[in-house]
């Protein structure tokens, strides 16, 4: 028997959604300030209008649904799932008002692509977009990478009660510190330290290549937010190719890899546990998959003499592989080059890299290295079980921040989430084929959307079918939140209709 949710449940959900919407209203002031600093009058009003809508909606929800009840797991999951959708609809308002999108759906696509740190773009004439709007595109990436709810907890929560349930819903199942508010603040501390470091590094390189100081550091901040949060947006249509600088690409590569590292590992390394960089199963698997998949891609690219020099292979082949593997989606190639120049084996290498992704509790998408490691350990455990006498007690250990024993529940969860990813990859690919795109390219774009990568082989354009746009939005949303809270949301709606 399914229990129908009570009015109290709905009030709790909308009360917390109201709080998130108010927080978004405050965050919309930041690009308005950027507009003010760069003397862009019209964009300021776009952000003030969106902010006002957030405040009206947020205060209406919090006042009309005021409650003192604690959150249950179900509430936390539903708040996160709906919170991301509402953030998309509201965050898209200033982008739509910029007149750089052909429809509100395109603005929503761009916003979800930013929030989910995907990096697929539908904006028109990006090179002439105002700095305030451009900052907002990158800022939502910074926000979504760390997590909208994590941001709300870090800056607006006063007590940890209920916050952990929303924190977990946002695909962050590992707590760094005992208190979830402290955990959220640590995640933002790491991000801010690297934001300063990244903006300075990229700003200096931009100055060296001839950009004026105000643009150099603006671009530095934007590219850092997109690289560290493995998003992939850039202030220009040509993405990283615009800068034509090896040094710029090298620094961006470094921040993309940093973004793929678990926040827990940052904490361990920053608190003196330096051996963790050698022992951690995620780092071991990340190194192995980067090296082996790049070897595969490099062999295929060399076979067809696409990049004959070490310099071009590093700047095109290696950059694309790291961009795919970390889920960044930054590019030093035009989308059409993947279709016209890259051969199927190299594309398969990129698809595999995109689908694996980086570490859990990082800003990357995809199946993730820890799950891959757990599945691998599970396979070796089963092989040992077959080979040893029946009475043997087989214990499999692995190191992830501490010595851990492989449990069936871990294996089950890793397999389930991986299965959901694979199913979603195929659903997107099949719909792409239905609309007439080749299977390999459809799979490439579908994996790119679901694993929140953002590399494109040219399917994602403003002229693509609306159904495909909506599907990619859903894939980006589900992929970023790692499915579980989406299923809870679906279960909630079923219970509302069929429950007793």
């Amino acid at each position: 028997m399914i229990l129908r949710p009570q009015l109290q449940d709905i009030k709790i959900i909308f009360y917390y959604l109201g709080k998130i919407v108010i927080a978004l209203g405050f965050l919309l002031f930041i690009p308005a300030i950027i507009g003010f600093l760069y003397k862009e009058i019209s964009p300021i009003f776009d952000f003030l209008i969106a902010s006002e809508i957030c405040f009206i909606l947020g205060f209406f929800l919090t006042i009309s649904c005021r409650t003192d009840k604690d959150l249950s797991w179900m509430h936390g999951m539903i708040i996160v799932a709906l919170g991301w959708l509402i953030a998309m609809f509201l965050g898209a308002i200033p982008l739509y008002l910029s007149n750089h999108f052909t429809s509100y759906l395109d603005a929503c696509f761009e916003t979800m692509s930013g929030l989910a740190t995907t990096g697929l773009v539908l904006v028109q004439d990006l090179d002439h977009l105002s700095l305030a709007h451009n900052f907002w595109r990158h800022f939502i990436m910074f926000l979504g990478g760390q997590g909208i709810v994590v941001a709300a907890i870090a800056f607006f929560a006063k007590e940890a009660s209920g916050a952990f349930r929303m924190y977990v819903g946002e695909a962050r199942d590992e707590r760094i510190l005992p208190n979830v508010i402290h955990t959220a603040r640590f995640i933002w501390l790491v991000s801010f330290i690297y934001l300063v470091l990244g903006t300075i590094c990229l700003g200096i390189v931009s100055l060296k290549i001839g950009l004026p100081a105000n643009k150099a550091f603006f671009d530095g901040a934007c590219i850092f937010m997109a690289a560290f949060d493995t998003g992939g947006f850039a202030p220009y249509q040509q993405n990283i190719l615009y800068y034509h600088s090896f040094a710029f690409e090298l620094v961006t590569l470094g921040f993309m890899i940093l973004g793929a590292i678990n926040f827990n590992l940052h904490y361990a390394l920053w608190t003196g546990k330096r051996r963790e960089i050698f022992d951690n199963i995620e780092i071991q698997f990340l190194s192995f998959t980067i090296i082996s998949l790049f070897a595969l891609v490099a062999i295929d690219l060399t076979r067809f003499a696409l990049y004959p020099s070490i310099d071009s292979m590093f700047r095109k082949g290696f950059f694309s592989l790291i961009s795919a593997h970390t889920g960044s989606g930054h590019s030093t190639l035009y989308a059409v080059q993947f279709v016209k120049e890259w051969q199927p084996l190299a594309l398969i290498g990129l698809i595999l890299a995109m689908s694996i992704g980086g570490s859990v509790c990082s800003t990357t998408g995809g199946v993730k290295e820890l799950r891959l490691g757990i599945i691998w350990k599970g396979v070796t455990q089963e092989v040992r079980r077959m080979m040893l006498p029946q009475a043997s007690n087989i214990i499999t250990k692995f190191h992830h921040l501490k010595e851990m024993i492989l449990e069936d529940s871990m294996l089950k969860m890793a397999l389930l989430v991986s299965l959901f990813y694979v199913i979603t990859f195929w659903v997107g690919a099949i719909v792409g084929v239905f609309y007439g795109y080749p299977l390999l390219l459809s799979m490439f774009e579908s994996v790119s959307a679901t694993a929140n990568v953002g590399l494109s082989c040219g399917i994602t354009t403003a002229s693509m079918p609306a159904v495909l746009k909506i599907l990619y939005i859903l894939q980006m949303w589900a992929g970023r939140l790692e499915f579980i809270c989406i299923f809870v949301l679906i279960g909630f709606f079923i219970a509302l209709i069929k429950g007793k």
Partner: protein, 38 residues
């Protein structure tokens, strides 16, 4: 050592360790490129 100095130096060393790992990835893959191209 004062706790705050120790904390800051740990963070700086931690950041260097992370950049060391990135350097390892760069160099190893440069080696792969060199082997494959040559």
């Amino acid at each position: 050592m004062h706790p705050s100095v120790k904390k800051t130096s740990n963070i700086i060393i931690g950041i260097f360790v992370e950049f060391g790992y990135i350097l390892f990835i760069f160099l190893f893959n440069l080696l792969i490129i060199t082997i494959i191209i040559k």
